[in-house]
């Protein structure tokens, strides 16, 4: 594109700009008169982005400017001194001007000058910092990220004042250019990792991202896996501890979720609570989470295989009870289990989409009406309802929502394998999952390694949380 230089004459500039911005009804032109120099100024900005109180102050300052005798200053010096706090750069072409206006900046042109000033009078539209909704903790910081990258980075900088915390920003996207920030501790994160992350981001630079979730899918190691290979979080404390472990954090303007890479499976099963509570409680909860993960995937499968393949493995009394509850049920255990598991998944999905007050009604309908009625109508056995309830509850204990989703989906695989091959099939599926997990990598780090590979912590941290040791400074 050919660049056209700004006119000296204010009227000409205004005419020219108006013709360029013909279609845009939200562009505002405001003239200001600077009496001391008998000149006019012109502000151009997009209506919705303007921080009016700040704008008013500058307008007041300019219109009240008087030429002091004794030390007369030029009009450039005057304007510069009045706008120095918000001035970003000077421009001299219309194309640049056009670009800056839609970036939310305010332009100031002065009659008789061939340069325009770019002022940052943008007022960001953000919500307030609030408690993260997806990762609640009982004890620990209650602050969560918001949609503003600037504020989020400010938050991280506030807690970590170390000069070696590097924040690298770049614009990505084609239609909507968004800021993407790469954050890491220099010296902690390995060169190889930083290089790898940069390469992957460079590869998808042209994509428009509305959320880090979209970026995650494009830069992960493999798409053919139910497991998330990059951890996401709304919690600054999680981000900070990831940074200290030498991991890289990626954030995008407009998304409250930060990505942390690389990730291991054990990390996804750790909650910040573990470290804030006493170690016994932390360890207990962590073991409980591993257990519930197993239950959520395999309990329905084990039920199916025990009931229709290996009833000899049940205690005699339990076998009788199960046979009793199943006596009038018309479906084989597999169909019964599929019906109930699908119903509960539907209820969960419906509960998320509906507004909060109705969501509770859905829970009631699901729990009481469907559960109770299905049993009384002999469509499913009462034991199946209990099992579905247990698998559902246990799936909620996974701290990372996206990780829990993976296991919810895998449950159906386990059920199919059990229905076809009995306990042998359940075992086979277990081996399959383990096999897949041990093959999986996250930024070329093995996903299944039971330790925090980068930090000083050992494998002991994977299953239980041992008492903290006093440590020296983390950065050398």
């Amino acid at each position: 594109m050919e660049s056209t230089f700004l006119h000296m004459n204010l009227d000409q500039s205004q005419e020219r700009l108006k013709s360029i911005l013909d279609m845009q009804d939200d562009v505002v032109f405001k003239e200001v008169y600077i009496p001391g120099y008998d000149r006019s100024g012109l502000f151009v900005f997009v209506n919705g982005t303007m921080d009016y109180p700040a704008f008013n102050e500058i307008v007041l300052d300019l219109s009240a400017a008087q030429v002091k005798t004794g030390h007369p200053i030029s009009i450039e010096q005057l304007v510069n001194s009045k706008i120095c706090s918000v001035k970003e750069e000077e421009i001299n072409t219309y194309e640049k001007a056009n670009e800056q206006i839609f970036d939310g900046k305010t332009l100031l042109f002065i009659d008789g000058m061939s340069t325009g000033y770019v002022l940052n009078l943008e007022r960001e539209k953000t919500r307030n910092f609030a408690e993260p909704t997806t990762e609640r903790v009982v004890r620990g910081p209650k602050m969560g990220f918001i949609e503003s990258l600037k504020e989020n980075i400010g938050l991280i900088r506030q807690y970590s004042s170390h000069p070696k915390l590097i924040v690298k920003q770049q614009k990505v996207g084609t239609l909507e250019k968004r800021e993407l920030a790469l954050i890491y501790y220099e010296g902690k994160a390995s060169e190889r990792l930083i290089k790898e992350v940069n390469e992957r981001i460079d590869g998808v630079k042209e994509t428009d991202f509305q959320d880090t979730g979209m970026l995650e899918e494009l830069i992960e190691d493999t798409s053919f896996s139910p497991f998330p290979q990059i951890q996401n979080t709304e919690r600054p404390d999680k981000v900070l501890s990831a940074l200290q472990e030498g991991r890289v954090v990626i954030m995008i303007e407009g998304s409250p979720f930060a990505l942390m890479a690389p990730t291991t499976m054990t990390m996804l099963l750790q909650s910040p609570d573990d470290y804030y509570e006493r170690w016994v409680a932390g360890s207990f909860l962590r073991i409980l989470r591993y257990f519930s993960l197993f239950v959520t995937v395999f309990l329905s499968g084990i039920y199916i295989s025990l009931v229709s393949f290996n009833p000899g493995l049940l205690p005699t009394e339990l076998a009788m009870t199960i046979a009793g509850t199943r006596e009038n049920v018309p479906f084989p255990p597999f169909v019964e289990a599929i019906i109930m598991e699908l119903t509960i998944e539907l209820l969960r999905e419906a509960g998320i989409r509906l507004p909060a007050p109705i969501g509770q009604t859905v829970g009631l309908v699901g729990g009481v009406i469907i559960g109770q009625a299905a049993v009384q109508a002999n469509i499913v056995s009462s034991l199946m309802v209990i099992i579905v309830a247990i698998t559902t509850i246990t799936s909620f204990t996974v701290p990372q929502y996206s990780f829990g989703l993976a296991f919810r989906a895998l449950r159906f695989g386990a059920m199919i394998f059990s229905a076809v091959l009995g306990l042998y099939g359940t075992t086979l599926f277990f081996i399959l999952v383990i096999n897949h997990l041990s093959k999986l990598t996250s930024f070329q780090e093995p996903y299944f390694q039971p330790m925090d590979f980068i930090g000083g912590k050992t494998w002991k941290d994977a299953f239980i949380r041992l008492p903290k040791r006093k440590k020296g400074g983390r950065l050398s």
């Binding site: 229709s308 393949f309 005699t316 076998a319 046979a323 049920v329 084989p332 394998f417 091959l421 099939g425």
Partner: protein, 370 residues
Amino acid sequence: MKRLWMLLLIPLLSGCWDSENIEELSLVVGVGIDLSKNKNEIMLTQQILVPPGYSLQENQAKLKYKNVTVSAKTLHEAIRDSLLLTNTVLTNHQRILLINEEVLRKIPMEAIINQSIRDNNTRRSCFVFLTKRPTKDILERADDGEIPSNVIYELKDNVKRTNKILPPLTLGQASSSLQSDGSFAIQAVEIKGGKLILQGAGVINNSKLVGLMNNKDIESLNWLNGSVKGGIIETTHHGTPFSVEVDKRKRRKIVTELHGNHLTIDISVGYTARLSEDWYGKENSYKESYLKEAERDAEDKVKQDVEKIVGKLQHQYKTGVAGLFRYVQNQHPKFWEEDKEKWDEIFSDADINYHIDLEIIDFGSKGGIK
């Protein structure tokens, strides 16, 4: 991706060939074996659990089991014949195997339990009992709502509290005993006053039933073995009865000595016990000498009983039911290798010295000082 789908479809080819829903199976808890009226046939009674059903209120009086009786030449054939009457039989949960005396008099025990042992569904931990009455009757006898097999199965747990029950004999133990020495005792089940009761025992030698024992004999045999786990020693002192409850076994030492072909067995056991009942009005339990005296009385009682049973074993049954052969086998392997065929004779001629050391460590929450 295409290949992956193919792979995932492979398991479906097999179908669910082993699938058999639990409510369509007959869960066998107890099996009884009798002689059939037909010649050369045995009668098999299978006790099958019936699920309680969903609406409990309606069928509360309903029995929770049914017995299926069929006759055939072999057991497996009988089991298969029972499928004409009931659902597929699942013997994984079988808890007891009852064998009628008549059967064991006629057919070797090894043959009787052969099918159960071979079949890998029936557990080796299933317990074997002997019955005087037809097993069919035993398996039908129970109080309302109780399952006879379960009643018998649970009674055997009382071995910790009484010494009138033989240590339970599992199918696996029976099989291995039949393989090695071939003589052991087997607990019997009876009906008394309309109730199931563990009473008496049978002596099996070389797969045949050679004799019967009463409860007293069982008790004495348990003492001889040192397999007493609890129970009471009941005797008298100062002309009044008193009883001592066995607490814990402290030691058991069995030494065998050979002089030529003559075997001497020294059995020495030590138990702690408590004085649990004493009718003597002038008791003085706080005095050690009083307790020592009681200990001696109880020891004498046990020794007398043991002597009686040893006499009975050596002269009446002429077989070493007590499992003492294992000690000979371990302590004199060479002798055992050569003469194990003659074990019954050797045992019958052996000198058995029995020594018991009882220590009363407790006299409960009441004692006198008169």
